[in-house]
Amino acid sequence: MDPVFLTFILMLSIFLGFELISKVPSTLHTPLMSGSNAISGITLVGAIGSAGGGFGQLATVLGVGAVALATINVVGGYLVTDRMLAMFKKKEDGK
Amino acid sequence: MQLGVLKEAQPQENRAPMIPADAKKLVRLGAEVLVEAGCGLRAGFSDEDYAEAGATVRAERSAILAGADVILRLTRPSLDEVPALKSGAVHVSYLDPFNEPELIDALARQNVSAISMEMIPRSTRAQKMDALSSQGSLAGYVMVLKATTAAPTILPMMMTPAGTLKPATIFVIGAGVAGLQAIATAKRLGAKVVAFDTRSEVAEQVSSLGGKFLEIDLGETGSTKDGYAVQLTPEQLELQKQGQAKQIAESDIVITTAQLFGRKPPVLVTAEMVASMRAGSVIVDMAAESGGNVEGSIAGETVQVGGVTIIGDGNWANFVARDASQMYSANLFNLLDEFWDEEAKELRLDLDDDILKGCVITHGGEIVNETIRQLRS
């Protein structure tokens, strides 16, 4: 049953993803890309399991690497996005 | 009740005070309408039209003058006509009460209730009777046409195989009823329109018609409670002239409509400014008849001053006599209708009414109008 549930979830998420991103003004393309890139850092959650799960040295090493990389993605991604969007704000206020 | 409609005496006046359609409405209200023969001819309405409308066409002017309870006309009566009027009659026409004290006295003496169409208040409720507005609006249109006809260029921009013709610039000074209509008409024809008025609230009205408002800082100006402009101080007038000079020099057509109700209009365009304009430019001085906003304008005439045409025709609405008659007639009808007693089928002047307070000048043998009375004392 699990894979079925997972497929359903996959299917629904994909549809939802499609519906969410429609008619975005082009000025927002880059921040949107960057923002959703940050979300893809969710792999951090998986990495934490590997790093802290005590599955042996190799898994831990891989896990820690994954945690570090994913964290870069998450932290850097959100911050960069925010910086970009802050810039928009300023430009609009400036007008 | 007998209403008498007189034919206008001046040969150049084409308008009629009452058109057949409105005469018919009056008849329906229960009035007896007497029309002087030939009254509407020059505005395009024959005596038969009036007869068909239910009015009685009478050739004898004196009979109407003497017999009618209400006299309807455009221009003020001549002094010698006044004694011919019935005592207690109502006389409705332009009166120019500020400048015609003798006439007013005569009317009072004759016990005539004289209503001055100029004095209808500029209130929202009275607008339908307001002949200054209706005729002024037509004047705005006519002035632009006159200026355009006199100009050696066309108004709109045209980008053609034979080069680009620049749009003409029209500068309208004074954006009251006539000025606004002038702005609208010039805009319609494709001109660039700039306008100025001392009342600051007018800026928005100008841009609402697509015109540009010329900003000149005159300090405190204002308008009377009736919406009329107050007179500027000499310093302010000087400021205004300076502010306008450049705009006038750059304009192809200047139209001045700056009147001050009941006073001599200010001179806004000096001879010097006229000279600064390009040859072929045109100036229309709406106020020429009452003294003029433009130095060098001559009432009733079109003159050339160093290549610049100055048009001072006056009585502008008269050039579109049919429409002007229709509107004046509607103003008169609305006035009568407002104060008509349907039971008694007669006109009843209630001097407590805001509108009548403003426009009835003489009544019961006296001058009853506040403004005119103050002027006298």
Partner: protein, 453 residues
């Protein structure tokens, strides 16, 4: 069980926050808030994961998080505003690599069920190609490596071979229960594939590539989620994957390219054919026109008789205003003989209250044309016909025209391929940078205008 339920409920919450965040990122007014909401979702997901009873050792996690956070923070803070896009590429690559590692680590954690192995292989493949692809993109954008498309003979063949090898290796890896050498081969192949896929694409197309790789890194996370059986990874990963694909397509449209064109222009032979083939026209839809206009910063509108026939002047004015609101400069190029009478265009544009200052004469607009992003030809034909310059025996040869063909992109709005007053064909319609928007000009413009939300 209780913690597990709690964790999972928290995951639901963070998924909801991601969804809201993504939605709000799509509108300028709420984008910043959206980013914050999505960050909150991430925080919740990470924090509750730490509650998992399966986690026995926090030290290494803390170490990894600390390293990552510092690098991420510094990276995001210190880079110049102009270097943002390559930064996004870099981050994205790290995300992909992380997914690869997570998938890899699973091999030492759980049983090697076929399903798990499939997902592991997918995580590794997608994660790996995302990683190297992003690195190449970063290099091209930051000019660390040449931004020119790198192409060589037989490229297509090599790439085909690569794909086949990958498939084969992956298949054996799965059936062979995670053979270590094959694992390394798979990782290496995914890396090579990422490089091969992105190298042939020019620097100008990198934003699209990054967007696509971003979508991939979402899919990698999703695959990793299947591998570690974690639902939040699956949901967020597929959200990112799907929205990324859509975004990529939108961006392609805004660049007036198809995705295939972007990706495979390098794979195939260099396309030279289209320029020579006269007779190829490019019709587009109002929506595509919108995407291009939305991105333009200077637009010239060239009206002709068709605008008058369609009585499109009012909607033209509206379009002008919308473009101006969007920060775009709009002017009108008026050809002296446009229309059917002298000044025809002036009459109409004045009716629509277009400011006289915006009406440029032919000569003036022609000098500015090469700087124009888009020229919109509205029902004009003869007056923009390059035959007057190019075809010596044309009856209009020598007539000055408005050279719209020198603008970056030209839209021609007319109903058909019919000729104009002079009755001659128009080579403009066949130019490479010309897009035909067929239909009554007023209707077409109305549709474009409606696209502006």
């Amino acid at each position: 069980m209780n913690t597990l339920l709690l964790i999972n409920l928290a995951y639901v919450v963070s998924a909801v926050l991601f969804i809201f965040g993504l939605k709000q990122l799509g509108s300028a007014a709420t984008a910043r808030r959206g980013n914050f909401i999505s960050a909150c979702g991430m925080l919740i997901a990470v924090v509750v994961t730490l509650l998992d009873q399966g986690i026995v050792d926090f030290r290494w996690i803390a170490l990894g998080v600390a390293i990552g956070a510092v690098i991420g923070l510094l990276g995001a803070r210190l880079i110049a505003m102009t270097a943002m896009p390559e930064m996004v590429a870099l981050f994205n690559g790290f995300g992909g690599l992380a997914s690869l590692l997570v998938g890899w680590a699973v091999l030492y954690e759980a049983d090697h069920a076929t399903f798990t192995l499939v997902t592991v292989a997918l995580s590794i493949l997608i994660g790996g190609l995302t990683f190297t692809g992003s690195m190449v993109a970063w290099g091209k954008l930051s000019e660390t490596i040449s931004s020119k498309p790198l192409q060589f003979a037989g490229q297509q063949f090599v790439n085909g071979l690569l794909v086949l090898t990958i498939l084969a290796v992956a298949a054996v890896f799965i059936t062979d229960q995670a053979n270590a050498e094959l694992l390394y081969a798979l990782i290496a192949l995914s890396f090579i594939f990422g490089v091969m896929a992105v190298m042939p694409i020019g620097g100008g197309d990198m934003p699209v590539v990054i967007s696509l790789l971003n979508s991939y890194s979402g899919l990698a996370a999703c695959a990793a989620g299947f591998a570690v059986n974690n639902i939040i990874l699956i949901v967020s990963g597929s959200l990112v994957g799907a929205s990324g694909i859509i975004l990529t397509q939108i961006m392609c449209k805004a660049m007036n390219r198809s995705l295939a064109n972007v990706l495979f222009s390098g794979f195939g032979t260099v396309k030279t054919s289209t320029t020579t083939i006269e007779g190829e026209i490019n019709p587009i839809e109002a929506q595509d026109a919108y995407f291009i206009l939305e991105a333009a910063s200077s637009v010239v509108i060239v009206p002709g008789y068709g605008m008058a026939v369609a009585q499109a002047q009012h909607v033209v004015k509206e379009l002008q205003e919308l473009l101006e609101e969007n920060g775009c400069e709009v002017v009108y190029g008026i050809h002296p003989v446009a229309g059917r009478m002298p000044g025809h265009m002036n009459v109409l544009l004045a009716e629509a209250d277009v400011s006289y200052d915006l009406l440029l004469e032919m000569d003036e607009i022609n000098t500015r044309m090469p700087n124009m992003d888009v020229a919109i030809v509205i029902g004009a034909n003869d007056v923009v016909n390059p035959a007057a310059k190019e075809i010596e025996d044309s009856p209009i040869y020598g007539m000055p025209i408005i050279s719209v063909d020198q603008a970056k992109t030209v839209f021609v709005l007319k109903r058909s391929m019919a000729s104009g007053f002079a009755g001659i064909d128009n080579p403009l319609f066949f130019k490479e940078n010309t897009r035909m928007l067929f239909g009554d000009a007023r209707q077409s413009l109305t549709q474009v205008v409606r696209e502006f939300e």
